[in-house]
């Protein structure tokens, strides 16, 4: 275990102790923070195991060639279309989209496609879109889609090609 990891664990445990003590002493601020924490954690605790199981199955079953063919270097422009569709079907948030994109990358998807996928997973998840339109109006949502998707694809191509040209290799955690 690295020093960094130990520090992080200490932070987490002291936070939990702080919340526990706050509850015991009825310390209001601490209880409020604790409530926030539980509300968000609960959401993720339900979501993430499913997400990771599906990712695991994906990696075990889907062949590298399949991903390469549709999302790899020679897949052409249609791969961006697939990336947007995949992003739209992603549930959860970046926290789910990130491990998925990493699996895709490992299976041979291009960096440019990965960026498009991550962008799409952030901005056009279908359930979220319906929610958004009901609060902010359909016009708002349509404008946001029409403007942001082309921008996401364009910037993904620029950023991805730049990194590919520099022979960039993904280095985890560095």
């Amino acid at each position: 275990m690295t020093k960094n990891k130990i520090i992080k664990i200490i932070i987490i445990s002291s936070f939990i102790i702080f919340i526990a003590v706050s509850y015991m002493l009825n310390f209001e601020q601490g209880i409020d923070i604790g409530k926030n924490f539980f509300e968000f954690s609960l959401n993720l605790i339900l979501l993430l195991p499913c997400a990771f199981i599906l990712i695991g199955l994906f990696e075990a079953w889907v062949k590298r060639e399949t991903v390469e063919k549709h999302l790899g270097k020679d897949a052409g422009f249609i791969s961006y279309f697939w990336a947007v569709i995949l992003g739209g079907c992603t549930f959860g948030s970046l926290i789910v989209a990130l491990p998925i994109s990493y699996s895709l990358y490992k299976k041979g998807a291009r960096l440019t496609v990965i960026f498009t996928y991550l962008g799409a997973a952030a901005i056009c998840r279908i359930p979220m879109t319906i929610f958004e339109a009901s609060y902010l109006g359909v016009k708002f949502t349509i404008i946001r889609y029409l403007v942001s998707i082309p921008l996401v694809i364009l910037t993904s191509i620029i950023l991805g090609s730049y990194l590919e040209k520099k022979n960039f290799k993904v280095m985890k955690g560095k």
Binding site: C50, I53, G56, A122, E132
Partner: protein
């Protein structure tokens, strides 16, 4: 949510029937991947709950419904970048902002950065793609969000 559970369980059972070896391999990958991000994830949750305590919804509403729309657009994008709200909080909040006559440009900057830029998810993002990619992607997303906000503003006739 329930649908997700059902789909996951069904797929695991199917996978199990067709190929035990692959299923076990998949489960191993799942556990390994999950284990890797659990610590950064907890750190993120701690930060989110503390930050949301100091910047509650009322404060966001208050700041964004007063003042100049251009500076508010910028402010909204900053708030959107540092906070992390699930959709069931973010969109009702946007609805409140709209009712308070906050411009669509400001709301767009807020929701788009909220979704695309993640300063709090940065520690997790770098676990997967490294600091450089995570940094570039977030900067790029921030610029996209601002562009989307401005265009939304123009199309709603809020600019000029």
């Amino acid at each position: 949510m329930i649908l997700l559970f059902i789909v996951t369980i069904l797929l695991v059972i199917l996978s199990f029937i067709f190929n035990l070896q692959k299923t076990i391999k998949g489960m191993k990958i799942a556990v390994k991947r999950f284990g890797k991000i659990i610590i950064p994830l907890l750190i993120m949750l701690v930060l989110v709950s503390v930050i949301l305590y100091f910047i509650p919804e009322q404060v966001i509403t208050e700041y964004l419904s007063n003042g100049n729309k251009y500076s508010n657009t910028f402010l909204a994008s900053i708030i959107g970048s540092i906070t992390m709200l699930p959709g069931f909080i973010a969109f009702p909040l946007s609805g409140i902002l709209k009712d308070k006559n906050v411009t669509y440009m400001v709301i767009s900057a807020f929701t788009t950065t909220l979704m695309m830029v993640g300063i709090l998810t940065f520690p997790i993002e770098k676990e997967y793609f490294g600091v450089k990619v995570a940094f570039l992607r977030n900067i790029m997303s921030f610029i996209i969000a601002l562009a989307v906000a401005v265009i939304t503003g123009i199309l709603f006739g809020e600019v000029f």
